[in-house]
Symmetry: D2
Subunit: 337 residues, 4 copies
């Protein structure tokens, strides 16, 4: 840890800080510069959190050297995490396609989607039974009945179920039906929920918040991992920026950075980022080319009739076209699809 002192810090104040660093078992260092004094603390700097040096009135800035997460870090755990979901895996050369409607709306709708996507080669079915909606007047999902339909689709078509859980009380219920629990972007820093899915025994698909930094995403993953659940799939889904030509800015640069910093699999959600079906296929392809382990896309048998997010849902022929183009790319990129 590097500690930059204010210009007006006195020798006595500096020595006091150096003393506290030494007491905690780290090696203190003092670098008196021409204008400012800089201190160093060598060793496991996480021990220094208790000192809260950033609060000290004579400290200008504290710069950590090590990353604040541990279990999520590739530096400490270098090899790739592979997540087993039933007979399927995420985080291998096989490119994962998770597809399905935004919300489960009816048996007919869900079964039509599941039949089509599984025939097309997607083995993960997405579909919301509990929906987070910015307006209290919008459709809020079918609830447990939606979960039952997802389970029925699994029985019929063999598709593993990925579905969102909105609050701690529902974790057990949703985990009873789902194969993968999704934590949505708006809940990325709902720390109680993170702990609860960390104790659920189910793999977790953790979406990056619309204004969360890459480092904050990894800290949220750390919450889940630290409860003993090693199966976290990260998902980039667009961040909030000034651009209004689409919904959110898909941050594909996050892919090579996450791949460098963590061993967890990373997938991309182009549907929520773009907010319009016209841009999904090129963005899904870009995600594959950029190193994603998979994509999660919204597919609806009749987007014009969708109860939510219809504008960004692929219809069935567009899904087929996406798969065709992704397969072509996967081949030259050494991925299986």
């Amino acid at each position: 840890m590097i500690i930059i002192m204010k210009n007006e810090a006195t020798r006595v104040q500096i020595d006091a800080i150096l003393g506290r660093i030494a007491e905690l078992g780290l090696k203190p260092l003092c670098m008196p510069g021409t204008e400012k004094v800089v201190l160093g603390a060598l060793g496991d700097e996480r021990v220094l959190a208790g000192l809260r040096l950033e609060n000290h009135p004579q400290v200008e800035r504290v710069i950590p050297i090590l990353s604040p997460y541990k279990l999520a870090s590739r530096e400490l755990y270098p090899s790739e995490t592979v997540i087993q979901v039933g007979t399927h895996q995420i985080g291998t050369p096989r490119f994962t396609v998770i597809a399905g409607p935004c919300a489960v709306e009816s048996e007919a709708q869900l079964m039509a989607a599941a039949r089509h996507i599984s025939a097309g080669g997607a083995v993960f079915l997405r579909g919301g039974a509990f929906k987070p909606r910015s307006s209290p007047y919008s459709f809020q999902g079918m609830g447990e009945e939606g979960l039952r339909l997802l389970a029925k689709a699994r029985e019929t078509y063999g598709t593993a179920v990925v579905t969102e859980v909105l609050s701690t009380e529902e974790v057990a219920l949703v985990a009873g039906y789902a194969d993968v629990l999704q934590v949505g972007a708006r809940n990325m820093q709902n720390f109680r929920l993170l702990r609860e899915v960390g104790r659920s025994g189910r793999p977790v698909l953790l979406k990056r918040g619309m204004s969360a930094s890459i480092s904050e995403l990894l800290m949220s993953a750390e919450y889940i991992l630290s409860e003993g659940n090693p199966d976290v799939i990260l998902c980039e889904r667009g961040i909030k920026t000034f651009e209004t030509a689409y919904r959110n800015t898909l941050d594909l640069t996050a892919l090579p950075i996450l791949k460098q910093k963590t061993h967890l699999p990373v997938i991309v959600d182009p549907s929520h980022a773009a907010g319009h079906r016209d841009y999904i296929i090129p963005l899904a392809k870009a995600a594959l080319a950029c190193g994603a382990d998979g994509v999660i896309v919204e597919v609806h048998p009749d987007p014009a009739a969708a109860l939510s997010d219809g504008q960004q849902s692929l219809d069935l022929p567009m899904f087929d076209e996406m798969m065709r183009q992704l397969r072509r790319l996967a081949k030259v990129e050494g991925r299986i699809l």
Copy 2:
């Protein structure tokens, strides 16, 4: 509602949409322009949500004319909401100062803060018992013991208690001790929690998310109001931007806009926005001059020893200086403090 059709929309498709608008009891309008056809739907356009016209493949854009929130809207409820908290009120010419430590750390710390701020004229004590922390390794709060200390401070100094609630299960517990329930920025779109505090019978201090638009903040307030709780205090606390010289960008323009759009009281949190005590006093003054109904600030008897957010906590003399300067301003601004 205005509906802009794509260039390629046919007469038949357009007529079908006009027919659906008429069926729902609104007056349809067709404006064939030189390049594009524009449709209108006159009446309570919220009825049209069911049509989901934005999903229609031949619709380019849907532009609502009315705001999506109703109970929060000043257009429908023009007079100011005044919130009664024990013998105190929020939303009157009296300028509200909510002060206290980021987290309740000990009886000594909390009592020292409560004694000082109440002597200085603040009647609301803030302090977190349940803390949302981005790292699972950081101090997470004292829990119920912290709530008991807040209640003790109320008995001793008469300060009303404002404290954060993190999840639905804790709402009843926290409501048993607190006078005002705070929903933090990270939970602004935790819709389950919004509903639950809407049923708690307690006033709610709702913080704007770091990346939430003003309109989204009002939609989240609508969730609480729609559960029958009319007592919502909005709080601007900074948004995420590219600037790194401070923590978040305090959005004071939100004040006159919120005052125009809603009847709910609006306060400002300069501490979390700035992230450093040096900038709190000027920003608190700017908030008052800009029309805020109050401020919420972090005050700690010994910031250098704070377990969280010490860098942004005012010490006791700085709190006194802030109050002195705010009083001077309040006088010329027609506010009581």
Copy 3:
């Protein structure tokens, strides 16, 4: 154009506006809603700019239906623009690779780069002779001597020259040496410079500003086009966001949107966006997969010694690796490289 009136607008005020619309030869329309009155103006709404209805005290909002640019618009000019640069073309199925050092530093450096990239299949050489630097104390470029070296590289290796022009006075000088004039991100709204390059007779590579919307980029292209220069290449190079793990957020969603809205070729600069060489190859591949017509990348024979932007420059083996991977992708994407 749609005009939403404030609630308090009177019948007389509304009629006055409708009258002015009619006087200008457009068809006026009045839609009295339940809460607000909405007006329409059918015809070439650009004629209405003179009315400045958005200034009217009783007007709440003005919503244009047509795009503000014309020459750049695909609606008016549907077929792809192909730009001829000597014997080379940009905007065809051939994928354009523009490569070279950030700044021309010496003959040895430039020639080594030009030799390598041209041997590797890139026919456009980039290199700055006039450098925009945020600090006045940083290296500002070699000036005309740099231009002479670029021309020499062209003679020797046949590489077309792409180089930045910083101000109107230098346009003639730079156009005397360069094949393509680059307008940098910081100058995207330097309107004098846009007009001047519009009169230069040279194709222009126009970079999107770090905080420019897609629509503003097209308006800046319109400045160049409206001076009679049809040869504009658009370049996405990252936008400013809150994320600090890299330099700027590369906005690849801009690609399918630009392809929908304009007939101009679009390339991507992953080097300036990422700010670090480790992320260039995946991002260049993502750009190709997402529909870009080319990439512009920084390549330096010895990045550790570069006078500017060394951190983001590919070294020569990395350039070869990028070309190898791009070629593989190009093949399945129907592009020639």
Copy 4:
């Protein structure tokens, strides 16, 4: 300067860097941590720029300790800069009000504005003769005729002239008429223009770019100062964010930060930030309360007829109301108005 090495850096590579630091006359320091090696360089670290250590393949991060600007820094020049403009001053306890139309449109319009604002106590008249417009089809200003009218207003009403200069060729022309040269937000990093106004002999009003950081603003000021012109007035005018309820987010936190970092006067432009006249008065008051040295506001005798930015122009009674409210505040804030 602090240099954090990558985990894989070898002893030999580290020693080489330490040797290069020592050769340049700085004191090198090596801190071998548990996971990473950290180096320090004590002395005037600006000397190290030539080493470009951030380019080194084994360097993870370089953290400067000193600010990159010198002449603009309060650390090196602690006392406030006071700028003399004719008989007026900027940067004293007197609160500066710069007012006038966005664009000079006619003699009648400008004279009406100048008469009114000077009667109301504003001694600086703003008005654009050369206008930067995002569309080539918008009104571009009256040019030199506009400058002549501004000079005429000065003769008649004694108001000093503040007007924008768009390009290097116009600097001499504009400086011949204006008292203060304005560099607009879009030109904040037009480095050629910065140098030219630095040689103009006129005070410069430098607006922060919509996406420029506070540090970049100070670097742009440094360009002007380094040409020998000490008279730079900084202007905060809103930054680009995701919020769409107004035009740009006014960043008032920049005020106390700029006051801490620099000795230059700082004013605020609420008109361009808000984009709507309804929000100007509260924001101007907030600016004063937050420590601004002045404001620059748009005032038009007939906003509904304005050729540009009419929506955000105060009309004459609103200007009077703003002055009345600012005066009331100025009194308690120790400012003269």
